[in-house]
C-alpha cells in the first residue's frame, strides 16, 4: 500500500480560521493531494466573455485555454493586443491573381472573399506565394484584405470587355501566375470565360468548395459535382470562401511593362452606361432598401425619404395588406427575398416571415420604439426612437448636407 494514511483530526485543524467567538473552519480550503488543479467554473465562464459588446457574449471555444490562463489576466486581454506587424513577401515563389471589381472604389464582401481564397492558395503547403490584387489603383483596404501586391486594372465600364480580357491576358503572360481567381458575378464572370476561351486554360466555374488541394463545382442540376486540383482559372461562388483575417499584408504597387494592344477590329461601335435608378428598380435587384412597417403612419414622408436616400421603397406585409404600399413592395417570405447590401427598417417588428426576406442583407438598420423587437436584435445599428420623428429629422439632415456640399 503506497497511499498515505489520512489523519482527519489534523486535516480539520489545518482548516481552522482565527476567530474570537467560536471555532470556525473554512472547508473550501482543501489541502489537495491530487496534482490536478481545481477548476473554477465561474472564473472560466467570466474569462470566456467576449468584451466590447452591448450584450454578454461567451466564446465557448476558449474554455480549455482559460483553465491554464491566470484568471486575473482575462479582463485585460483586449488592451494588450498589439497591432500585428505587416506581412511582407519579398521574393514570392509564385503568384496568385485575384481579380477584384471594387464597386465605388471600395472592396465588396465578395472581393474580400476572392482575396481570402487567393491568400489560401498562396499560403498552401510550403507557402511562399504572393497574392496580386488586380484592382483600381489607389484602393486602400486591399492590404488588410490579404494582397501582397496590387496591379492597377481598372474596372472601366466604358472599356469594352474584349480589351479588358486582352489586358489581363498580357499580364498573365508576363507575370505567369499559378492561379487567377474571379468572382462568379457580373463582369468578372464574363472576363473569366473570355480568358478561358481565348487561352484554352483549364477553368472551373462557380466553385462551391475550394481548398489548396481541391476545387469542386456542381453540375447536372445539383445531382453531381466535378472536382479536381484547383486549375489555373477559377471563379468562386459568393459566400463560399471566407475572407482573410490575418495580419495585414503589404499591397505594394507593381507595374506590368507589357501593354496589351487594344483588341484589333472590334465590332463595338459605342458604349454608354446608364446608372440604375433605385426608385424604379425591383426589390430583388437593388442594393439598398428603405422599408416601412406598422410603426410608420406618414407614408408621403416615407416615400419622399426613400427617394432622397436613393433607396428602393419596401414594406412589411401589414402595410401592404392595408393598401398603404403596393404588394410588389412586400419584403419577406411571401414577398421578395432581398439580395441587397443594406436594409433600413422603420417601425418593423421583425416577424420571422419578414426576417427571412432580409437574411442576406449584410447591414441592417432598425428604428423602432420597442427595445425588445426582433428587428432590433438583427440590426447592426438599432435606434430606439419614434420613426415618425426620425423621418423628418433625416430629411432635414439630408437637405442640410446637400446644401453644404
Amino acid at each position: 500500500m503506497s497511499r498515505t494514511r489520512r489523519d482527519p483530526r489534523n486535516e480539520r485543524e489545518a482548516k481552522s480560521v482565527a476567530s474570537n467567538t467560536r471555532r470556525r473552519f473554512d472547508l473550501g480550503l482543501v489541502a489537495s493531494t491530487s496534482r490536478r488543479p481545481r477548476r473554477d467554473p465561474r472564473a472560466e465562464f467570466a474569462s470566456a466573455e467576449v468584451e466590447g459588446r452591448s450584450r454578454r457574449r461567451f466564446d465557448r471555444t476558449q474554455t480549455t485555454a482559460a483553465i491554464a490562463r491566470p484568471i486575473a489576466e482575462a479582463p485585460h486581454r483586449r488592451q494588450e493586443e498589439v497591432k500585428p506587424a505587416t506581412r511582407i513577401v519579398e521574393t514570392p515563389a509564385f503568384l496568385v491573381f485575384a481579380v477584384l471589381e471594387a464597386p465605388k472604389n471600395r472592396l465588396s464582401r465578395f472581393d474580400r472573399q476572392v482575396l481570402g481564397a487567393a491568400r489560401m492558395l498562396a499560403d498552401a503547403k510550403d507557402g511562399g506565394g504572393a497574392v496580386v490584387a488586380l484592382a483600381p489603383a489607389g484602393l486602400e483596404e486591399v492590404g488588410a484584405a490579404g494582397a501582397d501586391r496590387i496591379l492597377p486594372f481598372a474596372d472601366d465600364l466604358a472599356l469594352d470587355d474584349a480589351s479588358r480580357a486582352a489586358q489581363l491576358r498580357a499580364a498573365m503572360e508576363s507575370l505567369e501566375p499559378r492561379h487567377v481567381l474571379f468572382a462568379e458575378d457580373g463582369r468578372s464572370a464574363d472576363l473569366a470565360r473570355r480568358l478561358a476561351a481565348s487561352t484554352g486554360e483549364s477553368f472551373l466555374a462557380d466553385v462551391v468548395y475550394l481548398t489548396a488541394k481541391q476545387a469542386a463545382r456542381r453540375k447536372i442540376g445539383m445531382t453531381a459535382e466535378e472536382f479536381g486540383a484547383p486549375p489555373r482559372l477559377v471563379s468562386i461562388g459568393e459566400d463560399r470562401v471566407a475572407a482573410y483575417a490575418g495580419a495585414p499584408c503589404e499591397a505594394r504597387p507593381i507595374e506590368d511593362e507589357t501593354h496589351a494592344s487594344p483588341a484589333a477590329g472590334s465590332a463595338i461601335v459605342s458604349v454608354e452606361t446608364i446608372p440604375g435608378d433605385p426608385a424604379s428598380l425591383s426589390l430583388s435587384e437593388t442594393d439598398f432598401v428603405v422599408s416601412a412597417g406598422n410603426g410608420v403612419s406618414d407614408f408621403e414622408a416615407f416615400k419622399a425619404l426613400a427617394a432622397e436616400l436613393s433607396g428602393t421603397p419596401g414594406a412589411s406585409r401589414v402595410v401592404c395588406d392595408a393598401g398603404l404600399m403596393p404588394r410588389g413592395a412586400q419584403v419577406g417570405a411571401s414577398g421578395t427575398v432581398l439580395a441587397a447590401d443594406c436594409y433600413l427598417a422603420l417601425g418593423i417588428a421583425g416577424a420571422p416571415q419578414h426576417l427571412q426576406g432580409v437574411a442576406a442583407c449584410e447591414h441592417v438598420i432598425a428604428v423602432n420604439t420597442d427595445l425588445h423587437a426582433a428587428m432590433v436584435e438583427r440590426a447592426g445599428l438599432a435606434i430606439i426612437q419614434d420613426a415618425q420623428r426620425v423621418m423628418p429629422a433625416l430629411r432635414e439632415l439630408l437637405e442640410e448636407r446637400r446644401n453644404a456640399s
Binding site: 466555374a205 458604349v271 452606361t273 435606434i383 419614434d386
Partner: protein
Amino acid sequence: MKTTVLLSAARHPVSGREALARLEAQAIALATRLGGDIRGLHAGPESDALREALGVGLSKIDRIDAPNGSDPMEDLASHLRAAGPDLILAGRRGQGGLDSGLLPYRLAERLGLTLVADAIAIEAGSEAGTVRIDQALKKGDRRRVTVRLPVIVTVHPLAPPPAAFAYGAARRGMISTHPVNDPIRQEGQGSEWEERPYRNRPKLMRTASASSGDAAEKLFVDPDPKEAARLILDYLERNGIRQF
C-alpha cells in the same frame, strides 16, 4: 436579319426531365421582337425541349444529329459558319448540364465573332447592320452597346419573360435533322475533372459585425431624433452604401 437561337440539352431544375431552359425561351422572345428570319439550332439527340421551343415562338429548328454527351462545339461552329447568321443568341448559363456558361465564349473564339454578355434588350441600331444591346450590370446599372453584326449575345435572366406555350405552334413547327460532319472525332471526349455525387455545402453566414467593426456601438436608446438621423447617415456612409 438572320437570327439563330442556340438550344441546349437542358433539364428541368426540379423534375430533371428534358425541358427548354428559361433563358433560351427568353432568347426566343428577344429574337421575335427583333423580327427577321429566326431559327433554332441544337446539337444532340431528339428531345422534348425542341418541341417546347417551337411552342414558344420558333418555327424552324435545325438539329445536328450528334451523339448524346459529346462536345457540341465543333458541330455548332461548322453549321453556323455555313449558315452565316447575323445574330446568335444563347443563354448565359446552361441548365441541368455542365452549366459552366463557356460554350458561347468558345464559339465566339472559334468563329472570330464579338460576344456581348448578359443582354436584356436588343433593338436594331440606327445604322444598317448594327444592333443596340442593353446589358444588365450589377445593382440595376445598364450598359447600352451598339455593335456591328455578326455578333453572339448571351441572355440575362432579367430579359423580358418568355411567350406563353402554344400547343398548335409546337405541332406545326419544323425540325430538320442534319448529319454530323465528322463522326470519328466525336469519340473519346473525356472530361479533365472527376465526378462524384453532389453534396450540399452550406454558404457562409453574413453577419454585419464581421466587417462593420465595433459591435458595442450598435444600440442607441432614445437618442434625439437629430442625433438618430446623424447616426443613420454616418452608418450608411461608413459602410459605403450611399454618400451624401
